[in-house]
């Protein structure tokens, strides 16, 4: 029995270090290769030793697919390919390919230069790793090898994020990566056609949330920023360098322009400039509005947003600063946070999801006293606001996508176990598809029933068509033919042709049956009575009375004979070929009921 097996190495009932192994029809594919923000030890990378203890990974994996450039989806890639060792193809979209190395380099810098970690991947490794990448276009079908093919769909979320369909023969799996069903200021909504995969692996970050109007949130955000700035406070917005940051930038930029505000907006790290450059280039990946207006003005050319310098943090007066990383776990955003946390005029706006264990998660949970490194305690007086701007599909969005793709079963990853449980229940109830939510290292096995294509000869098809009424689209129909299996392909042909092709002689198979009739008359007369009876019953069949006294109905032969022992009964011999089984058995049962009384 063929089956699809799925094992999450990361992101199983968890958010972070997405890494899912899928084996489908003998092909092994790794989906995403991310790191975990919450850990600084070995746990931050997926456990690749699960795949193989010794020997190169290349032998065990057919390809690696990266859905988008967020580090929790691609952060372990250089480690995996260069340090563990993988030489096979890595697939990602063009924007991901462009932006991914920037983020990896940034991550490396923080880990090595700031935290002084040894045994971390080097810049050269990132470069080598990126050389193995094959870039794909949206909706382009890429043949990984003869059987395995993949196809990317638009996923929203961040620039270049894609959902991937992995297909071998008639079996397929769709992996969504992270996606967004509501469009935002710079990206469109995820879209997939009705591809009916065997399995849909979907993220479930917001498994229990149905978000309200996005506009409402935007308005609140702008209002809060505006008010704080008018009060003379400073606003810190911790973001990931890419993704939400661009959306919020566009939002603030347009707002500043409309309201004619002069308060400076800064964006930390030079990384953003590089990334923004790519945003300007990949206009076809953005939303309707930006695509239509970029000829007049590229929305990513900001007028009000300037680069941030570390010294600016101590400047007096109001300002808005976007700083990385988004969960306040390290880097510039944390530094600025420590500087500004003491003033109640200031505000920090957390625009996205925070992993447990990060400072972001702590302050959002209401903690007002934070223990920092070196045993200092930081008192948080500034206002803490949460604005869900992170671009993940909400519960309704997930259900919507499942509805769009119509999979046979769904597998949830990239979410918290408790919330997944809830969504799983919902999906099973309302969409009536089976749903799985494996933990890390747990394998889900799905039996599949692959369809086998069979060729049919045109002659046979036409003949069958001519016999019956119109074929109905959704109804199966019975068809007589011979199945020939030859050179691993299947053909359905008419039996004559099959005989001819195989050089076999035809055997005739006839059934005969005796029916006893009470009739005192002569055989001929009995035959005549049978003839007239059948003639009257079987109106649309060809009933003939042959000169030798026998009766034929199509190919069924009936002969009356008088057994010597009893003149009162006649024996009716009924004989039919195998093909006419239906008619023959009908006739015998009809005749067994006896003949009607002759009118004379």
């Amino acid at each position: 029995m063929p089956e699809i097996r799925v094992t999450p190495l990361g992101a199983g009932q968890d958010v972070g270090r997405s890494c899912i192994l899928v084996s489908i029809a003998g092909k092994n594919v790794m989906l995403d290769c991310g790191m975990h923000m919450g850990f600084n030890d070995d746990r931050r990378f997926p456990d690749f030793s699960y795949i193989t203890q010794n020997g190169r990974l290349t032998d065990f994996l057919d390809c690696v697919i990266i859905s988008h450039f967020h580090l929790d989806h691609c952060g372990a890639l250089p480690y995996f390919s260069e340090m563990v060792g993988y030489d096979g193809p890595i697939y990602m979209t063009h924007p991901t390919q462009a932006i991914c190395p920037i983020l990896l380099e940034d991550y490396r810098k923080i880990a090595v230069d700031k935290k002084g970690e040894a045994n971390f991947f080097t810049s050269q490794m990132i470069k080598d790793c990126m050389k193995k990448v094959v870039a794909v276009h949206l909706h382009q079908t890429v043949q990984v090898d003869d059987e395995l093919e993949i196809k990317a769909y638009y996923a929203g979320h961040v620039l270049g994020a894609a959902m991937f369909q992995i297909k071998v023969g008639s079996e397929s799996v769709v992996y969504t990566g992270d996606y967004n069903m509501t469009p935002d200021r710079h990206l469109g909504a995820a879209w997939i056609d009705k591809c009916r995969p065997n399995l849909l692996i979907t993220e479930s970050t917001y498994a229990t949330t149905i978000r309200d109007s996005k506009r409402c949130r935007e308005r609140d955000f702008l209002k809060k920023v505006h008010e704080t700035v008018e009060r003379g406070g400073k606003v810190l917005i911790p973001v990931f360098a890419l993704g939400r940051a661009q959306e919020l930038c566009i939002l603030l930029e347009t707002f500043w322009e409309r309201m004619n505000l002069k308060v400076p907006i800064y964006f930390s790290t030079g990384l953003t400039e590089k990334a923004n450059h790519y945003y300007k280039l990949f206009i076809p990946w953005t939303n309707q509005k930006i695509r239509k207006t970029f000829v007049q003005r590229n929305m990513f050319e900001f007028k009000h947003i300037k680069a941030f310098d570390r010294a600016f943090a101590d400047n007096p007066g109001p300002m808005v600063v976007f700083a990385t990383p988004g969960m306040l776990h390290a880097g510039q955003s944390l530094q600025i946070f420590r500087k500004w946390a003491g003033n109640e005029k200031n505000m920090v706006i957390m625009p996205g999801y925070c992993v447990q264990g990060t400072v972001g998660h702590k302050i959002l949970s209401g903690q007002r006293k934070l223990e920092m490194e070196g045993r200092q305690v930081l008192e948080v007086k500034m206002q803490v606001e949460y604005m869900s701007f992170s671009a993940h599909a909400d519960a309704k969005g997930i259900m919507q996508l499942v509805g769009q793709a119509e999979p046979e079963s769904v597998l949830l990853v990239h979410g918290e176990a408790k919330k997944m449980e809830f969504l799983k229940q919902k999906i099973e109830q309302e969409l009536r598809v089976s749903c799985y939510m494996p933990a890390n290292g747990e394998t889900v096995t799905l039996p599949t029933s692959p369809s086998i294509p069979v060729g049919i000869s045109l002659g046979l098809l036409k003949r069958e068509m001519a016999q019956g009424l119109l074929p109905e689209a959704k109804k199966p129909r019975l068809l007589h033919g011979t199945l020939i299996m030859k050179d691993s392909n299947f053909r359905l042909v008419s039996s004559e042709q099959a005989l001819k092709e195989l050089g076999l002689a035809e055997h005739q198979l006839r059934f005969t049956c005796r029916v006893h009739l009470h009739d005192t008359r002569k055989e001929q007369e009995t035959a005549l009575r049978v003839y007239s009876h059948l003639k009257s019953v079987l109106k649309d069949h060809c009933v003939q009375h042959l000169p030798d006294g026998s009766v034929t109905v199509e190919s069924v032969l009936l002969q009356a004979a008088a057994p010597s022992e009893d003149p009162g009964t006649k024996v009716l011999l009924v004989s039919w070929t195998y093909q006419d089984e239906e008619l023959g058995s009908f006739l015998t049962s009809l005749l067994k009921k006896g003949l009607p009384q002759a009118p004379s």
């Binding site: 469009p183 949330t209 109007s213 939303n287 309707q288 309704k396 408790k418 959704k474």
Partner: protein, 939 residues
Amino acid sequence: MAAHLKKRVYEEFTKVVQPQEEIATKKLRLTKPSKSAALHIDLCKATSPADALQYLLQFARKPVEAESVEGVVRILLEHYYKENDPSVRLKIASLLGLLSKTAGFSPDCIMDDAINILQNEKSHQVLAQLLDTLLAIGTKLPENQAIQMRLVDVACKHLTDTSHGVRNKCLQLLGNLGSLEKSVTKDAEGLAARDVQKIIGDYFSDQDPRVRTAAIKAMLQLHERGLKLHQTIYNQACKLLSDDYEQVRSAAVQLIWVVSQLYPESIVPIPSSNEEIRLVDDAFGKICHMVSDGSWVVRVQAAKLLRKRTAHERAKELYSSGEFSSGRKWGDDAPKEEVDTGAVNLIESGACGAFVHGLEDEMYEVRIAAVEALCMLAQSSPSFAEKCLDFLVDMFNDEIEEVRLQSIHTMRKISNNITLREDQLDTVLAVLEDSSRDIREALHELLCCTNVSTKEGIHLALVELLKNLTKYPTDRDSIWKCLKFLGSRHPTLVLPLVPELLSTHPFFDTAEPDMDDPAYIAVLVLIFNAAKTCPTMPALFSDHTFRHYAYLRDSLSHLVPALRLPGRKLVSSAVSPSIIPQEDPSQQFLQQSLERVYSLQHLDPQGAQELLEFTIRDLQRLGELQSELAGVADFSATYLRCQLLLIKALQEKLWNVAAPLYLKQSDLASAAAKQIMEETYKMEFMYSGVENKQVVIIHHMRLQAKALQLIVTARTTRGLDPLFGMCEKFLQEVDFFQRYFIADLPHLQDSFVDKLLDLMPRLMTSKPAEVVKILQTMLRQSAFLHLPLPEQIHKASATIIEPAGESDNPLRFTSGLVVALDVDATLEHVQDPQNTVKVQVLYPDGQAQMIHPKPADFRNPGPGRHRLITQVYLSHTAWTEACQVEVRLLLAYNSSARIPKCPWMEGGEMSPQVETSIEGTIPFSKPVKVYIMPKPARR
């Protein structure tokens, strides 16, 4: 085209009146059969299918008269049988369809042939085309039940065709011709009554999505034709909602909506539970669900259908089922323990947040449709309006201007039902800083009819509007108007603000504000309008406020109402509100003066002239005083002026003098004729609300002017050649007049035309000199026609706001290149401004240029009002000095556009310029001078 038309009209007329003229028409007739004959010859000549196709294409470009259609059809059919090439047969089949649509031709005679060829046809494409032809024939003969039945039969027979095109056409045929009622089908004997709905319904599951779509469309067509669809269709349609193809889903959504309107109260079970709900609710849920469909085409369709909903209790479905958190607060999304999962069925009842979805859609087309849907629902339900307010306000920040504009308009439409909260007002007012003028003005319109709940709200609105005024001074008028309504709507809220707004102090006199400051005027407009219904307010005014009031009341009377001020008499009692309702005196006066004028027939010429002059003067004055009557007064005055001119022209003493001596005097008469013509065009096209009654009179007056012109020309020119042409033209005009206004002729007793028509036979045969003589006497004898006054009549007017024409700085540009001039004008009572309003630029060298503004440049801020905001491109060769060019607006007219089209022209291809051609123009705005300076290009 027009000349040809007139000729035809003329011929037919003469055919009726004068038997001897028939010879001429016969001559024309001889050429007619040649059309089919020529086609026949052409087709026989054709050596290859490509040739034949070419001939057919050429033939198709020309119209065919109704009487020769049959001949042509026979020839086409004959060739059809002979033809082997399917493409030629296809063209012939399509031509048959076109020809059978010809007005005045009954296609039942070709139906047998069409069905006949259909049976022998092998090519699927040709088959489809033939079925299309049959559809054309069938729709042409809606009364003939037998034919319809036959066609339906044919369609059913071909439904099993393997080609989707043929099946499509069959279904279309069934949808259009399928018998509506069972009882009728029984009348048509011999043909078994078919259940068309069942047949069409079977094709809902066809394998081809195009056929499925066609089946649904056919069903919808049946519905449109008045057939009551079965309820069983609902379930079938629901299945199609999950079709793989967007066009099928899109059509299915429509069908579901239709059925839900037919059987709103039926009960349908909810799958997977024992509950049942009303069908209309179920359908609503399903349509809502489709708002989040994968294809935006379907989403637009679904969103559009949502607005058609009548029941409004669904409003609550806007809000997500309580089980899910809103995600607004952190930590809010912990799963609630053990909910009754059977109670909430998220996907099935899909309605949850359908609007939120629609409003947030990626494609702005969907968002606009959703906003419109909100608008329709909110208009029908105040409670819903209240609820959707937040969503609408949010849409004010949409990224696409069109959507913002649409939502502002929507808000305006529902603003009677709602009162804005302060925070909502805040968001609304923030949009005032938008850089788009359309948005700002739409917002002003919105504020005009908004209810504000608190005095802070009013203050906020005022502050924001003043901010807007400083930022965009061009918005001045719009802001003043806005404040006028804001003041008169909220007198009690304005009252406590007055001291602050006027910055009065209980003890000290404050400085008198600058009377020319637009911001101060804005504040005053607000206060004075509030004071109108708030008698205690004037007590708070300081002295200079009263002075300013008097000044503004005079200078901006449309913005400042009359107030009852303590210790003062009302400035003008005539305009006081108590008198306006009973405006009878002025109305009566108007009527009386007009009555008096119509008796002038009995006066001597001198007296008649004087009477007319006085009446015209009276009317003009009345129009100035009474704005409501201005349209009527002007209209009548113009008419009387025409009559006056006519009388004056006829009173010239020297009519009987020999032609050569007459030259000098004729100037006056021909000028009068010309002026009358102009005035009649103004009357016809510059007033909205002119009815056919008036048009007759106006045309009649113009006819008189033309006659006058003819007489004058006859007197002044020597030689008969030009006269011949003129005479003939004039007689054509008369003929046209008679044809077009045949119904109104009885009202024109004793008039010029009445007499003229009596003498028509004689005129036709007379020599020009004689015609002129007859005309002259008739003009003198004809009676003055009474002009019935229309109910509502308004004179079209236009004001150019920009360019203001006051600038001393010339607009410099390099000669030969273009410079763009922004033109902003308001138009009042202009019908169809997109086609009629033009901009004219007059250069100092007399060169005039007419610019056609784009249809998108016109905005329609309110009934009867339009606004033209466009750019005019100027260019000229170099000048030595800056000079002024004149910009004005013209009203283009085309009197032949009112003529109903000839039947054969409707079917055939019409040259589009016929409709858009301009016969003449009327300037209807004051010209504005713009200082420009084209400089020679530097090399």
